[in-house]
Symmetry: C2
Subunit: 100 residues, 2 copies
Amino acid sequence: MSKFTMFGQLIARPGQRGELAKLMLESAATLQEMEGCIYYIISESVDEPDALWISELWESEEAHAASLKNENVLAVIQRCRPLIAGVNPVKLRLLGGKGI
Amino acid sequence: MSKFTMFGQLIARPGQRGELAKLMLESAATLQEMEGCIYYIISESVDEPDALWISELWESEEAHAASLKNENVLAVIQRCRPLIAGVNPVKLRLLGGKGI
């Protein structure tokens, strides 16, 4: 299985989750045209008022790494940075499942 | 956005993660024919030796609830139960993204 998945929890600065989510949804729009990105889903935590969760699936780890060099992606990261208090990535090895 | 997503962390009993993953992959096979399940992805944590993560996307919260009444799904849950030491669901509200 060469596909690559990751989850990341983004903690917004207090009161900034809505604004951060808006920027992240714009970043998802940027990814619409990006090769190798199968999905990129943004959710907010029900129980943690400052937390967003990003769930990603890529054709390969290389495709994900390449996206981080894309100038549009870098621009979004730059815009998001002041709103972010913390990042908690969950490192995963994809085993399989439905829809992938 | 009426689609429904959830993440869940499953903690296997010590040394049982591989066996639990195998059963969960069989459960994903059961879901292949299940209406309303867009994806159901099983990964193992790189950093936590007993942890699996399940990431799901459903057409609606009702479709997910209905799956939990399906007899094949219930049978898989029953088989997995002795291997599971804990369950940590992450409650989410889907905001949007790519591929959904």
